[in-house]
């Protein structure tokens, strides 16, 4: 009976973002509303305008990049209040589009945009895991709503019984791409990161003839060296670097290369 089993207390919070990952959830329509009905929604600012009572939470879903002091405060407070903290989306997981600033003009980027820069927070962009322990990550830009629905039962089970949440399978985008009947873009010399990127997105980009740009991040056993060798005739080193910047992948690539120095 409903009153005997307490509904899990959930919050869905966005830091600095386009909120696309939240909309990816809302776009699930009835299926999302069903989920919302099965939990106690303590804080979800997109759908309710009540004060956050500040109670302890079972799960906090965090979207967006912790850019400002207010963002960081919110993030730390959520971690303290919540049994589980789940990161949703590329901005939170990998720095996202905002991280591009780190790779070129860093603090100076602001001068292209604003005349008065005093009093505007302009820190280096960092991923959520630099600030708090993360219990699970749903990657992508935006996240795949189906993937959220797939892993939610495991996350809830972890709350109940402590059972480990399964990892997203270490399988390249290529597996889904092949299953979907696409012609491999690399065969046509179109630079695609598929082989080194974590699958689970149903190869949504390559299904539309768009090369994978790695928004889900490197998969655990990615072979960046082999990937770069394959891409050598398709893009310059500069072009490779530039493309890895779009979804905050570049720092992970550099770390891989540093860790795998012969």
């Amino acid at each position: 009976m409903d009153n005997e089993v307490k509904k899990p207390k959930i919050a869905i919070v966005s830091l600095t973002s386009c909120e696309g990952c939240q909309f990816a959830l809302l776009d699930l329509g009835e299926r999302f509303l069903e989920v919302a009905g099965m939990v106690e929604m303590i804080d979800f600012r997109l759908l309710e305008d009540l004060e956050d009572p500040g109670t302890d939470l079972d799960i906090a879903f965090v979207e967006g990049n912790p850019m400002t002091e207010a963002n960081k405060k919110t993030l730390l407070s959520l971690r303290k209040r919540s049994k589980l903290l789940v990161v949703i989306g590329n901005c939170a997981a990998m720095g996202g589009i905002p991280e591009m600033k780190n790779y070129h003009e860093q603090k100076q980027t602001i001068k292209h945009v604003y005349k008065y820069i005093q009093g505007i927070e302009n820190e280096e962009i960092q991923e959520v895991y630099n600030f708090v322990k993360v219990d699970f990550t749903l990657p992508g830009c935006p996240i795949n709503g189906e993937e959220f629905l797939k892993y939610l039962p495991f996350i809830l089970e972890n709350l109940k019984s402590g059972a480990e949440i399964p990892q997203i399978p270490d399988s390249p985008v290529c597996v889904e791409c092949k299953k979907n009947g696409n012609r491999c873009l690399l065969l046509d010399k179109k630079p695609c990161f598929g082989p080194m990127i974590l699958g689970g997105c149903d190869s949504v980009c390559t299904n539309s003839n768009m090369a994978c740009q790695g928004c889900r991040g490197l998969r655990p056993t990615a072979n960046v060296k082999a990937m770069r060798a394959t891409l050598k005739n398709m893009m310059t080193d500069d072009e490779f670097e530039n493309t890895t910047e779009i979804f905050g992948l570049r720092d992970d690539i550099e770390k891989w290369e540093a860790d795998h120095k012969e």
Binding site: G20, F23, G119, I120
Partner: protein, 420 residues
């Protein structure tokens, strides 16, 4: 007395609002924007133009299509790339779909509860389950179009400079048409429900700015016009509208020459071009018995419903035309990358979106400027609230706050867009 709203929920993005009232006189009414700066314009400089639509659409999760298309149009204008009529038609359909799913989200899930005195949408859904289903189904039609033509709803994939990476099959289009024809009566039913909603009274005459074109209700293209005689080419936008940043603020406000604020969005478009709406949309509008010109921002929500009907009807018409055309003509053909600079404007659900880009001979971005609808309308909203407050002073503080939040939400502000 100070009225301080820390965080306005049920809008896109983060902002608070503060007003100071002394003896019934509103001394100040200001947004306190809490959004971090993503510096999209700054990070685009030096990047290849091919990345611009991908990056720019991530300015906003609810209206990525319009950012994507306006970026593409600006680049095409700058490099003088021509696209096929099939491409233009498909983009128009996508824009209609953008309106349908964004408006349906806003009018039902973000604003409606305000008019029914409900603070949690989960209560709204319990109280109005049939209407909720209708709103969800209407959104699904819009999203199906974007998914079919663009490859994905949030942050589409197939659109690019020059056309599309992949085009749908005739069967896929026919599925959309069937869907659309089923949804139109559902939209009319939801519209009938919205007609019964009582909106607060408020009126403050203003200038309504939007795109206008011959032969159709302007969304994808047009000249920039207003009800006060403005009529300029999109390329002349920045000569007539000036961005200005106040110290410490992260949203650059926009002023018309003459330094007055102005209004955009559904209410502006309908006030300026209602005679260009589709048949059912015009009939519904007439049945509302609003006297145009209408200067009540609360009606913006109902005007969004009018536009949903228009966009459903018009998208069906365009999709039917596309089934008789050669869709392969929309596939991107080779074009010359050359230096140039140009602007482009498209109507976003929330109002006119403007992009300007300067590209070098190798295709790298030298400079870019993005002016979003909400940035344009921020000052106007503050001016409106300053005029609204005296009329609600005889309420307790909590009630006043709720009325102000309802007012702000009726505008459908998108703060993430405004900051970008």
């Amino acid at each position: 007395m100070n009225i301080k709203i820390n965080h306005i929920a049920k809008i896109e993005g983060h902002t608070g609002f503060m007003a100071s009232v002394i003896k019934g006189d509103v001394k100040s009414a200001k947004f306190e924007v809490q959004e971090g700066i993503r510096l999209i314009e700054g990070i685009l400089i030096g990047r290849h133009y091919k990345d611009m639509p991908t990056i720019a659409q991530r300015i906003c999760g609810i209206c990525p299509i319009v950012h994507n298309l306006t970026a593409i149009k600006a680049i095409e204008n700058a490099m003088k790339v021509e696209v096929s009529p099939e491409t233009v038609k498909m983009r128009k359909v996508m824009e209609h779909a953008q309106f349908i799913h964004s408006h349906a989200l806003h009018l039902f899930f973000l604003s409606l509860a305000d008019f029914l005195d409900i603070e949690n949408d989960l209560d709204l859904i319990k109280a109005y389950p049939a209407e909720t289903v209708k709103a969800v189904k209407i959104r699904e039609y819009g999203m199906a179009i974007v998914k079919t033509l663009g490859g994905r709803v949030v942050h589409s994939l197939r659109n690019e400079v020059g056309g599309f990476k992949k085009v749908p099959t005739v069967e896929e289009l026919q599925k959309l048409i069937t869907n659309g024809e089923e949804i139109l009566p559902v939209a009319m039913e939801l519209a009938a429900f919205f007609k019964t909603i009582k909106t607060p009274d408020f009126s403050r005459p203003t200038e309504y700015v939007c795109l206008k074109t011959k032969g159709e209700y302007a969304i994808y293209d047009g000249s920039v016009i207003s009800n006060k005689g403005l009529n300029i080419d999109q390329q002349k936008f920045e000569e007539n509208f000036h961005e200005l940043q106040r110290p410490k603020e992260v949203i650059k406000r926009v002023q018309r020459d003459g330094k007055t604020s102005y209004m955009i969005g559904a209410i502006a478009r309908i006030n300026n071009s209602s005679d260009q709406l589709t048949k059912n949309a015009q009939e519904y509008l007439k049945s509302l018995e609003y006297n145009l010109p209408d200067y009540n921002p609360f009606h913006n929500v109902i005007y969004q419903m009018v536009e949903v009907i228009h966009c459903i009807e018009d998208s069906i018409k365009l999709l039917k035309q596309l089934t008789h055309e050669n869709l392969e003509n929309a596939l991107t053909k080779e074009y010359v990358v050359q230096e140039g600079s140009a602007a482009a404007a498209v109507e976003a659900p929330r109002g006119t979106l403007y992009y300007w880009v300067d590209i070098d001979s190798k295709g790298y971005i030298k400079n870019v400027n993005i002016i979003t609808p909400t940035a344009q309308v921020l000052t106007h909203l503050e001016d409106d609230i300053a005029a609204f407050i005296p009329g609600i002073l005889d309420n307790d503080e909590k009630a006043m706050e709720r009325k102000m939040r309802a007012f702000i939400r009726a505008y459908d502000p998108c703060i993430s867009c405004a900051v970008h």
